[in-house]
């Protein structure tokens, strides 16, 4: 077992006459989940596709999902309404009025999948199945001109989608004043 040296502590503790090195002692608290329990605990989707489940969706399937479950808040064409615009705004980031949308700003398509699974539709998160999520992501990316009309998204193709603003982020270089 690779032992990381993140907390080099050589203090010896004396507990009830037993001497042990603090670093190597675990409490043993917590219980090991069964594979089933672990599966039910949830998962994260990563930019390289790790975590994405099986299933797939097309642009046209996604159009129906979107109209039924999303359009009321985000607008018929995802142009924004009560809730944020999800497309548009390309080339606005350097302007005085940047419009940050999935199309113009988001660096990874996997984030869209992950976020919709977690949080949308706003009033009934968790209600879409995996195919519907792939589909509505395909529809939104198509509306944003990121994928073609015939795109089919699944765990292989989604991480390969090149988002327009993929290179738009830099690391924290503060302090940046004086």
């Amino acid at each position: 077992m690779p032992r990381r040296s993140w907390r080099p502590t050589f203090a010896l503790l004396f507990v009830s006459g037993v001497v042990f090195a603090a670093e190597s002692e675990r409490t043993g608290l917590g219980s090991e989940p069964t594979a089933e329990e672990l599966g039910a605990a949830g998962y994260t989707v990563f930019p390289d596709g790790k975590g994405l489940p099986a299933g797939s969706g097309t642009v046209s399937e996604g159009r129906a999902v979107y109209q039924q479950f999303c359009a009321a808040c985000h607008g018929r064409n995802a142009e924004g309404d009560e809730a944020a615009a999800l497309v548009g705004g390309r080339d606005s980031l350097t302007s005085g009025r940047p419009r940050k949308t999935v199309e113009s700003y988001w660096p990874y398509a996997t984030t869209l999948w992950d976020y919709i699974r977690r949080s949308m539709p706003y009033e009934s998160p968790g209600s879409l199945n995996d195919d519907e999520i792939y589909a509505v992501v395909a529809h939104l990316l198509h509306l944003g001109g990121v994928v073609g009309e015939d795109a089919v998204l699944d765990q292989e193709s989604l991480p390969r989608v090149e988002m327009p603003n993929r290179e738009g982020f830099v690391s924290d270089d503060r302090p940046d004043t004086d």
Partner: protein, 402 residues
Amino acid sequence: MSKQRPSRRAFLGLAGAAAASSLHPAARAQTTGAIRDLGDTPSDYGRPSPFEDSKRWSRAPDATASSSNTPLADLEGIVTPSGLHFERHHTGVPAIDPDTHRLTIHGLVDRPLVFTMDDLVRMSSVSRFHFIECSGNSAREWSPAGAPNVQLSHGLASCSEWTGVLLADLLDEVGVKAEASWIVAEGADAGLMSRSVPLERALDDVMIAYGQNGEAVRPEQGYPLRLLVPGCEGSISVKWLRRIEVAHMPSMARDETSKYTDLLPDGKARQFTLVMDAKSVITRPSGEQKLDRPGFFEIRGLAWSGRGTISRVEVSTDGGRSWTDAEIEGPRHAKAFTRFRSPWRWDGGRHLLMSRATDDTGYVQPTLAALLEARGRSTIYHNNRIKAWEVRESGEVTNAEA
């Protein structure tokens, strides 16, 4: 409160009892030359005096994607009363039964583990004072005059004594694999709020907190369990913590890409700008207060830095032309609110009051002009400018262009 309690006057059959007992007991306590009423009986959970009306202010009180601000001008010392701690949540405040709540830690670990609240409370604990500040705090301060009072200008920041387990201890229990470099935390709110934390940071001073100011963490702050990443933007301290995945990369969650990234003039955005830079604000006198007459006032305020301790706070009463060192008063914890105070005699004239904090890394709180020069106008987050309050000849205090 025991409104039904028979008053002593009624008990003694005295006239005027009705009028007297319609007042709260506290209003009568100091009356001399009259028979004194007994006060309230003990209560199961105390409340502030009915004469106090400190309240959070919410920008959208009926929305579940909302926030509320701490009334900083009302606070003394460094602790924010738990009921006044600022709130920010995206999908409402869930009601979680601690008996059924679980924290799962899995991913790139030797042995995934599930912890009950009892397991966590049994482990070695730490109690530490830390502020939490939303990185969207002071978003209105990008305009020169900014917000009219300190609750609106700086109220998305609060400070508590947090009690819990060091995440490093929990990661010891599961055994982190060598290829791990991040952790991804997930909440149990409806939207499964999620953020990534660099492993290096997670192994430093990050806590899993179940206690806040001596009692259980409040529901709005993550009951029964929250992540606490000291000194960092509040959104990363995931509330209602249910799962930690040890990972090889950040998840690039929506709240670390679409939101909480800082767009610069060249169209590039800074990402993972986690640390909250040093900041201070005068809470008294501050906007919408009124000085009743010239004479002595104590200028008081709060300073904090996500990089360490506050080493110095300077105060100006002439719009930044001259500065004097304020006294740092009370405890000086790292990554916690720190009190400063400075005696002042108001001469009845117009004054611009400002404060400027320096932390133990030598970082000095910047002006708005310096921030705009470095970042342009589109960053939204991380505004730690020097804030000015104008004291007018009338005694009224307003927001002012510095």
